[in-house]
Amino acid sequence: MKKADVLLVGVLLIAAAALYLAAPRRPAARVAVYHGGNLVWTCPAAEEGECTVSGVRVVVSGGEAYVAQSPCPDGCCMAAGRISAQGRSIVCLPMEVSVVLEGPGQLDAVVY
């Protein structure tokens, strides 16, 4: 191991930490569920709700959202746990489902 190695690893870790701290964290206004890039379900974050998209069961409860059940092979989306901050998301790549916590001013849809 050389000095340059330590420096490189240090710089990368500090950059990651800086990015993490720089990201704003506000409570989300609503939970949006996308399937293959299309918005399929929304729920105000403050309310209770539940939906199932291509086998992935998304639960909104107590200002948090999480994936309760998924048929995907790796289970990453379930392991992601509960998210509550605006801008956070849980993505299940195999099932092409993503759960995004959106802010109040966000557009419902954008057409190009």
């Binding site: 870790l13 800086a18 392991a79 998301s89 790549l93």
Partner: protein
Amino acid sequence: MKGNLTRAGLLTAVGLIAAWLESLILPPMPVPGAKVGLANVATLAALYLMGPGPAAMVTVARVLLANALFGSLASCVYALAGGVCAWGAMALLKRVERFSPVGVSAAGGCAHNLAQLAMAAILARTPGLAGYLPVLMAAGTLAGAVTGIAFRPLARILGKKQNS
């Protein structure tokens, strides 16, 4: 170079075994696509023992085979993007000749995760993925460094075999 094909095959096998062990032992990660990436040791070893060309072949071969065996077609796209970018970053840093395998591998791990995230942002079309960026960067760097440390004994074994 004589013996390169044999060694490339050997390293591909090493990468496959590493990927298999990882899929057996490790629990699902909280972030899509995050892996310890022990299999990257094959790319690293190929880079040091044979050069960037064979290392690219080993990378593509092991990623395609690993996903055919333990993954899916969907995960293959991400793994391939990650593997190729990791190879690029490592080949570049090795050329600089300032870093030991540990540093080279750390950069490779970081590049691997960034590439996977970029791929996911493109394919899943979710800008919200950017929130994972810092976590994936740190995880990739640390995992890469660990892989770099694991490379040393492997290099010793393979380096010896070359002479006999």
